[in-house]
Symmetry: D2
Subunit: 111 residues, 4 copies
């Protein structure tokens, strides 16, 4: 187990939050946090969004929301017994096969 | 930079996908993948959701969706210049202070 | 055009918000509001969620979030030239054919 | 009760889907459908997204996703005993007061 998973688990267990941390509830919490992250970008132009980290206040909010999303994703994966890094690498291996670089270069048609 | 970030970046660059990987677009892609993950749990009872990984097919889908979410979260953080692990640890430190274990034990009132 | 669509449009036009109300931005705003709505339910047990409207404070928050989601959905449909009610009825007609009542009765396997 | 609410309710009751249509589950289904809707726009440029309805295939998918979102929003409101139109109008009245047209004209700073 990596140290972030361990830290998130410790925070939860010390507070008896395991009872709330069911897969359904954590999936909902993840959706809620992603909603907050998306909201940071919703009214920005693409240009403004590209330099959002240069703004001290907006940048700090984005970093916090990214942290929140990562915390709930880590916790959900832990509760389900999934290794987050391995799950991502396994999917990347699939992507690499399904979208050969030379064939899809510069195209977004990923369906 | 950790190896997952490097791997996601390489997959994107080899395919000239940088043009699509703006913060707004990646935040949207993240919301889309979280929607798919949430959908895996929507009609399950809490009991069924608790053992979803025991079902070979549903478990494989959940693992894939978790991988997808992690990929886009990793890519968004990379594009924004945010260290995912540090952002999560920074937020956890705040949580630990804001919700002292002895005070909030067993309570979900986190607002 | 129904009166809600007209009212949402008027609010936006009086404030020169048309420039922000692009399909991408409105889809993001919708995701953000749905995230807030989901967050209202995330730590509730199914039983607590079933009586959430009996709680004056939580009920008022849920009503407000439902209103927010409806406003952005109405605005997005308007900007895209889609009749919300007709789009829903068209999809319901498909559902009725794809899931004949006598065949799927009591089953959630909707995929 | 408006006719769309009645139609959605009939579809659900004829299939014994009331057991699945709890507030938590419907909020999750709504998040899942909004995720699919957002995904339709994620890789489009703002310009492409602005004319998405001119594309027969993409336009049809967007209309279907909008219909799906409206169906689950209607069903969730029905299960909670909330009048969707009234909830939206009540929120609009608040918005009109909080953001006086002459003060916020052309500004997106809605926080």
């Amino acid at each position: 187990m990596d140290d972030l998973t361990a830290r998130v688990r410790a925070i939860a267990e010390e507070r008896d939050w395991q009872q709330f941390h069911t897969p359904k509830n954590l999936a909902m919490a993840l959706a809620g946090e992603v909603g907050e992250l998306v909201a940071e970008f919703q009214w920005l132009t693409p240009e403004q969004a590209g330099v959002v980290m240069d703004d001290a206040e907006a940048g700090a909010r984005v970093r916090t929301e990214i942290g929140d999303v990562m915390i709930y994703l880590t916790r959900l994966a832990d509760v389900l017994g999934i290794d987050l890094r391995e799950a991502a690498l396994a999917k990347l291996a699939e992507v690499a096969v399904r979208y050969p670089a030379e064939e899809v270069k510069g195209s977004a048609s990923k369906r």
